[in-house]
């Protein structure tokens, strides 16, 4: 059942918003931001670059250069706002869609492309980047983040301004998973320094969020013993403010909290999906009016913080960055077949050593033959 025009997922009263879709600053009794002019411009810059890289990735998939892409289109504010709120010592546990958070961590955006091109399955060190590998199994990473956050507390790294906090991303679909609910229990009873950041993009592939929950998702936190807040997920300022507060509370030893970033997946679930089968165009149009980049641009214009020249510069930089990314993706070599057997066990396995030897000999038997 597609959603009708009369229910375009408009925000509920509990919604924290600091920037209206028209680009007007909105006051909120509990949340505010105090950015410099440069910082406002750089938030816009990140939103634009992140969207451009994402668009490029979708194009690469359509051209056969990626096996799959999970687009973040429409969710740029939720990811840039929360990602920019992270401090260097904080740890993030993404799903497979947090390309924008990855970018805001200062990580080379090429990093997840090995996974989507099929030349590896992630292959990065979570501790080096303070950014865990993408997790495909829905919700599984919430428990990993909880355990990691328990470790942070056991290491004595909470309770001060320099404390460490952990953030874990998941979606409205994941909220139905047992692991997510278990992670709520664990984070609560161990008072883990963890921010649960739920991007409610309204759909789990084809299923609307009403199929996952009968109460607004942020309200679930109460039942688990911590606080929840719903934020306008298309408002980068509000996402930043709410996430920064939650991270600071966590690093000071105030325990976990849940943020529901109310947003919309403007594109398909992944490049394998066809959203026209389960949602109507008018719903998408209603959300286009709430576009996260457009409202930030309007704000910059209204405040005279930027003009055409700046916007053109950002667009050009995004274009060049995307082009550069494309070239590097195309240059990614296929892995040597023998890596198939590598890194199954830290200490190796004699059985696998034997299989590798047989495989190498088998491959070599075709040298100069039909399979060479």
């Amino acid at each position: 059942m597609a959603k009708g025009e009369d229910t375009p997922h408009l925000p509920q009263p509990e919604f924290v918003q600091l920037l209206s879709p028209d680009g007007e600053r909105v006051d909120h009794p509990d949340y505010d931001v105090a950015f410099t002019d440069d910082e406002y411009r750089s938030l816009y810059h990140d939103l634009v670059v992140v969207r451009k890289l994402d668009t490029e990735a979708t194009a690469l998939q359509r051209q056969g250069e990626l096996g799959l892409w999970a687009s973040l289109l429409g969710q740029e504010a939720a990811q840039v706002g929360s990602g920019r709120a992270l401090r260097p010592q904080d740890m993030a546990f993404p799903t497979y869609r947090e390309h924008g958070v990855l970018y805001c961590r200062g990580i080379d955006p090429i990093m997840p492309f090995g996974l989507f091109r099929g030349v590896d399955q992630g292959g990065w060190d979570p501790n080096e980047h303070k950014f865990n590998m993408y997790t495909i199994v829905i919700g599984a990473q919430t428990l990993h983040a909880t355990g990691y956050a328990m470790g942070v507390a056991m290491d004595g790294k909470v309770g001060s301004d320099d404390g460490e906090a952990v953030i874990v991303y998941f979606g409205d679909g994941a909220s139905a998973q047992g692991d997510v609910n278990e992670s709520f229990v664990w984070a609560s009873v161990y008072n883990a320094p963890l921010v649960f950041f739920c991007q409610n993009n309204q759909y789990a592939i084809s299923q609307p969020s009403e199929r996952q929950t009968r109460v607004p998702l942020f309200m679930r936190a109460n039942g688990f013993g911590f606080s929840g807040v719903r934020v306008d997920g298309n408002d980068v300022l509000a996402c930043y403010a709410v996430t920064k507060r939650a991270l600071d509370d966590a690093r000071h030893g105030q325990g976990p909290s849940l943020i529901e970033a109310y947003t919309y997946r403007m594109g398909a679930h992944t490049t394998s999906d066809d959203p026209s089968r389960y949602r109507i165009a008018s719903e998408v149009e209603a959300w286009q009016a709430r576009d996260p980049i457009l409202r930030m641009r309007r704000y910059l214009e209204k405040q005279s913080l930027a003009g055409e020249e700046f916007f053109a510069e950002v667009d050009e930089e995004a274009r060049v960055t995307a082009l550069h990314l494309r070239e590097r993706v195309l240059d990614m070599p296929d892995p040597d077949p023998t890596v198939l057997f590598d890194n199954v066990y830290p200490n190796g396995s004699p059985e696998l050593d034997e299989q590798r030897e047989q495989f190498v000999a088998y491959q070599a038997s075709f040298q100069g033959g039909a399979h060479s």
């Binding site: 590896d120 399955q121 992630g122 292959g123 990065w124 060190d125 979570p126 501790n127 080096e128 865990n132 590998m133 997790t135 199994v137 599984a140 919430t142 428990l143 990993h144 983040a145 909880t146 355990g147 990691y148 956050a149 328990m150 470790g151 942070v152 056991m154 290491d155 047992g178 692991d179 278990e182 992670s183 229990v185 664990w186 009873v189 890596v339 590598d342 890194n343 199954v344 066990y345 830290p346 200490n347 396995s349 004699p350 059985e351 696998l352």
Partner: protein
């Protein structure tokens, strides 16, 4: 040398590992104040504190999932699954996350976890408390699976498993927890992934692991009275298998019986039979036979004696190998 039960040897081994490395944690349901339902972790929370011996919420996926995060943070969690039949809520985290993290990260992530599972039947328990799920884990690349059969192995293998950077599923023969034996606490006699001949013989080979090693040894004693000399091999490592001692033995005896409590269909015995057939084909005097649990759900306690391989079923299989 001390005389310890298997349960006590595990407890002492865990204590040594915790003393040696402050990153070693124990976590599980009722492992702290109670000392575990089998008392394997008895007294450890009192001595090491609630942060190192963690009484967890009653959620197995949570135990394994959070242990993964703790491992990424640099800890070495030893997770207790209270009973074999309760591991399945954690199965996804074990198979999709624990087993694959090292591979997916191209070697950059290590999860030096141990998942302890008391397994097998023979204790008259209600359902879900007597199962043998080891083949599920042995079938999963990225996990190593071991099982101890003696107090000496319990003491050393748990320490070796904790020291290993590989994720290890540690199968404990729950019905043998109270069996006593000598333990040399000065040095380990064997490495973790090594099978060995626990009783030498010349007429047929019997391979077993965990709770069935005792059964196989009893069968060998009984067979001796009938004038048959059985060689008994304790597998100890279920993944990877250490087949060299098995091949060597079968090439001498020409006959092999594999014993386990788990159902026969696609159990460890099937794999061992296939490998022995491939490697010892011209030495075999008879097909490899399996003595295993039946391909039924684990039955009600009043039927478990019929379900479980015992001395007579092992001897019956040995007899049959001489019928070819």
């Amino acid at each position: 040398m001390s005389t310890l039960t298997i349960g006590r040897a595990l407890n002492e081994g865990l204590r040594c590992a915790m003393e040696r490395d402050p990153k070693v944690l124990i976590m599980g349901e009722d492992v702290g104040k109670l000392g575990g339902v089998f008392r394997i972790t008895d007294g450890l929370q009192k001595d090491f504190g609630e942060d190192r011996v963690i009484d967890t919420p009653l959620a197995e996926s949570g135990i394994i999932g959070t242990a993964i995060g703790l491992s990424i943070r640099g800890y070495r969690p030893v997770c207790e699954i209270q009973f074999d039949g309760f591991v399945y809520p954690a199965y996804d985290q074990i198979v999709s996350q624990v087993a694959k993290m090292h591979y997916r990260s191209r070697g950059k992530v290590r999860l030096p976890m141990v998942i302890r599972i008391p397994f097998g039947g023979g204790i008259g328990a209600v359902e879900h408390h007597s199962e043998s799920p080891e083949a599920y884990f042995a079938h999963t690349a990225g996990l190593k699976v071991v099982s101890c059969a003696t107090p000496e192995d319990a003491y050393w293998m748990i320490q070796q498993s904790i020291e290993s950077d590989d994720p290890i599923v540690f199968m404990e023969p729950k019905r043998r927890y109270w069996e006593k034996g000598e333990v040399n606490t000065d040095a380990a006699a064997r490495s973790l992934h090594e099978s060995w001949v626990v009783r030498s013989g010349s007429d047929a080979t019997v391979v077993a692991y965990g709770p069935m090693v005792r059964t196989a040894l009893d069968a060998a004693t009984a067979a001796e009275e009938d004038g048959r000399s059985l060689e008994v091999i304790d597998l100890r490592t279920l993944s990877p298998l250490d087949m060299a001692p098995v091949y060597e033995s079968v090439r001498r005896t020409g006959r092999l019986v594999v014993v386990h409590e788990a159902p026969g269909n696609l159990g460890l015995g099937s794999e061992i039979a296939a490998r022995v057939t491939e490697q010892c084909f011209y030495s075999l005097e008879a097909p490899v036979l399996r003595v295993a649990g039946f391909d039924t759900p684990y039955p009600a306690a009043r039927l478990e004696e019929e379900y479980l391989p015992d001395l007579d079923r092992v001897l019956d299989a040995v007899d049959r190998t001489f019928g070819f």
